[in-house]
């Protein structure tokens, strides 16, 4: 390619080179990311998706702390084999309050996007303590400390406040709470109110008794509460099976 163009112009002018470099590398972003802010068909309009309750959110923190995501994705792809094994494909709307989202394709273990309600709490507890006692061929590590470690709830408000900063509608003020009542209904809105977070967490853990041990709230309570809500928020029986085709 022998144009009347000289490398020297750019290579000897560092200011021009910086500007041109910037332009070159921003093309990818402009083409792939920028349109997503204008396209109104990226997030499906479905009912039922809500932020996690304080207990579920603490469970999610433990999920991330223990690195569950390194083997388990939470993204069912629109393939027939995945639909048959895991259920309806995941919607973008279902992870709209996840920070960070748990999409992926690295599946040493099965996808967990719709594991909620699939097994009983006692199965989860036993399986987390000793996976091979439930599934002999499993290669999952044992997590026995979850049941014996009390859940640290001292900073739950701060954790929710941090999520609120990035756009998750946990409420701090009465006005925000009222907005949540309008958006999610009163039962859910109450769970999302940060000043009551600790009280709500204790109530849910005591009522649900997810780890089968009433003597206290363990990390197991939180993690099982989180696992049991995964993928259960949207009632797909309310939608036609092609209701989400237009969103792709």
């Amino acid at each position: 390619m022998n144009l009347n163009f000289k490398h020297e112009w750019i290579e000897t002018n560092i200011g021009l080179m910086a500007v041109l470099t910037m332009l070159a590398i921003s093309v990818g972003g402009l083409v792939e990311i920028a349109p997503l802010f204008f396209i109104d068909k990226t997030i499906e309009k479905v009912e039922g998706v809500r932020p996690y309750t304080p207990l579920e959110q603490r469970g999610r923190d433990i999920y991330i702390r223990e690195g569950c995501y390194t083997c388990h994705s939470q993204m069912i792809r629109p393939f027939r084999d995945e639909k048959l094994r895991y259920g309806h494909y995941s919607l973008a709307a279902e992870s709209q309050y996840d920070h960070p989202f748990q999409w992926g394709s690295k599946r040493t273990g099965p996808d967990l996007a719709r594991v909620g309600g699939k097994y009983s709490n006692e199965w989860h507890v036993q399986h987390l303590i000793a996976p091979r006692s439930m599934v002999p061929e499993s290669v999952m590590p044992n997590y026995p400390w979850l049941l014996t470690t009390p859940l640290d709830i001292s900073d739950v408000e701060s954790r929710l406040k941090a999520l609120r900063k990035v756009g998750v509608p946990y409420s701090l003020t009465q006005a925000e709470y009222d907005a949540n009542v309008g958006k999610f209904g009163e039962t859910v809105a109450r769970q999302l109110h940060i000043p009551d977070a600790r009280k709500n967490l204790v109530e849910q853990a005591n009522f649900g008794n997810y780890d089968g041990d009433r003597s206290g709230i363990s990390e197991m309570d939180a993690l099982v509460a989180y696992l049991q809500v995964l993928g259960t928020m949207v009632d797909f029986s309310k939608y036609s099976d092609d209701a989400f085709v237009d969103y792709r």
């Binding site: 000289k6 396209i39 629109p78 494909y89 439930m134 036609s240 099976d241």
Partner: protein
């Protein structure tokens, strides 16, 4: 040698020099590479035309390629190519192949399905996959269950009943087992007596004197075991209370105990602590009625169907 080689070639330079003599070679790309690059550019343009690609305002260009499918409302729709429409097309094709079988599953009674050799083959193959995906994590790959956690489905000892209808009911709506804890109601000696009585019911080694006292306690209002397990201790299927007179154990890990004392201790543990487990999830929302019917017959045929 490298110097010789460089001298023998006539390579263009980029045409400028730094520090007086520092120059840079300009090696043009091989022709085949350049043309391959042009071909990929043309390929990309064709791809953009066929498949969804460029964003446009609030949407995007759908492309020329389309997919036609029938949705759950029975309407035939044509949509620009995307993976979600492709899935529906794929599901349409698969269900068309399976439809004759699933139609038969819906139309036939359980007994008819079990007697029909062709349908039996269908149940065995499709039921096996459904069982492995959904049931095996708890009831284990062969349906043998797990003592202390999940019941064995291959024997004829049923908590809630082993008829087709009862198995179907269990699958559709789930179950929730419960036994109150007697640790605070009864003292240690009484619990030991009850444990010996329960051991005697299934012919295990026990202390006869304790068992006799346990028998009285079992049928008394103090412990009131007979309310749920029945006066003959054979259990009550309407509430999922197990039969205590057979040698099948689910909650007390009697088979795993090392000696006779261990067996009695396992029974004592259940009496004292009660049970808040025994939860079977409901599958009505997760699986279709036909799939649940397939599983009903499959579980019935695991060995213990009644």
């Amino acid at each position: 040698m490298s110097e010789q080689k460089l001298q023998s070639q006539t390579v263009q330079t980029t045409g400028h020099a730094w520090d007086g003599d520092l120059q840079e070679y300009n090696n043009p790309l091989p022709t085949w590479w350049v043309y391959t690059f042009y071909v990929t550019v043309v390929f990309a343009i064709v791809y953009w035309i066929i498949y969804p690609s460029w964003p446009m305002g609030k949407g995007w260009i759908g492309g020329l390629s389309t997919i036609t499918y029938v949705n759950s409302e029975g309407e035939t729709r044509t949509h620009s190519w995307n993976t979600r429409a492709l899935l529906l097309e794929d599901l349409n094709r698969a269900s068309a192949e399976q439809k004759p079988y699933f139609d038969k599953v819906s139309a036939m009674s359980y007994e008819q399905i079990a007697r029909d050799p062709e349908m039996n083959g269908f149940i065995l193959s499709s039921g096996k996959a459904l069982f492995a995906d959904n049931c095996a994590p708890c009831h284990q790959a062969g349906g043998q269950g797990k003592v202390g956690f999940f019941p064995n489905l291959t024997d004829d000892d049923w908590l809630y009943g082993g008829s087709y209808d009862k198995i179907n009911e269990t699958l559709m709506h789930g179950r929730r087992g419960y036994m109150p804890a007697f640790g605070e109601v009864l003292d240690g000696a009484q619990i030991d007596q009850l444990a010996n009585y329960v051991a005697s019911l299934s012919g295990m080694r026990h202390d006869s004197a304790k068992a006799a006292a346990g028998n009285a306690l079992f049928h008394s209002e103090t412990a009131a075991c007979f309310y749920c397990h029945g006066p003959d201790a054979k259990g009550r299927r309407d509430i999922g209370a197990p039969n205590l007179t057979d040698s099948v154990w689910l909650w007390a890990n009697v088979p795993g105990a090392e000696d006779d004392d261990g067996k009695i201790a396992a029974i004592r543990g259940v009496i004292a602590g009660g049970l808040a487990k025994g939860v079977m999830p409901a599958w009505a929302g997760r699986l279709s009625p036909e799939q649940i019917k397939v599983l009903t017959v499959y579980v019935h045929e695991l060995g213990g169907g009644q």
